[in-house]
Amino acid sequence: MKIVAICGAGIGSSGILKINAERVLGRLGIEADVTAAHLTSLESDAANAQVILTSPEFVDAIGKTNADIVIVENYFDTAELTRKLEAALG
């Protein structure tokens, strides 16, 4: 299972998404490789990703993908992340 967290810089916000996604997935007992990436590295990083985690601003820029795009509103709300990851992976 591959999950990619996308932001504009590939540091900071996508790093926080990566950390919290790993915590949530650990609690759910799901093994996954979570990568933090920025838009320009997206094509290589997201090649086999099942899920892309990101902000609403980046959905258009991500464009066509086979991955499920999960839009996160509050990066620090692990309940929101849990709900949305469960829905995407369930």
């Binding site: 504009g8 900071g12 920025h38 990066y75």
Partner: protein, 148 residues
């Protein structure tokens, strides 16, 4: 683990700013006077938001201003700016912003421990409100779990 340090120079409390650009610029001032980034880093942080939109407002009331690692970054670190009157960044869910947390990291790999610590602090949803209400650097350090 806790945040490495939070020098007094990296904290600006209760500022009155006209708009999000001034708020981010002020966070850049805090980073540069604390020796974490060069003054030009402020412009880089603003450019990221102009280019990609207000995605840096990652939680209600909190903007995580940052740019990519580059020659403007002198050391890994953070700065905190709180606003006496919150400003809008144009985010669909999380406006208005009362706390700007500016992040500078020298390399992508090195920053994961730092953001993990930020997640420990801000996964507690009261942290933003507590920071916004803080009136001293010591109080900010207590909330952030940081030393000096």
């Amino acid at each position: 683990m806790s945040l490495p340090t939070l020098p007094a120079d990296a904290v600006i409390l209760g500022s009155e700013v006209a708009n999000w650009r001034d708020a981010v610029r002020l966070a850049g001032t805090a980073l540069s006077r604390a020796g974490i980034a060069k003054p030009e880093y402020a412009g880089e942080m603003i450019r990221m938001i102009e280019e990609h939109g207000p995605y840096v407002v990652i939680a209600p009331g909190l903007a995580l201003a940052h740019a990519r690692p580059g020659p403007e970054v002198l050391a890994d670190g953070i700065a905190i700016v709180t606003l006496s009157t919150p400003v809008n960044f144009g985010h669909p869910y999380n406006d208005p912003v009362s706390v700007v947390l500016a992040l500078a990291v020298a390399s992508g790999d090195a920053h994961i421990a730092l953001v993990a610590e930020l997640a420990n602090i801000f996964n507690d949803s009261s942290a933003v409100e507590e920071l916004a209400a803080a009136t001293s650097v010591d109080e900010v350090r207590r909330i952030m779990g940081a030393v000096q």
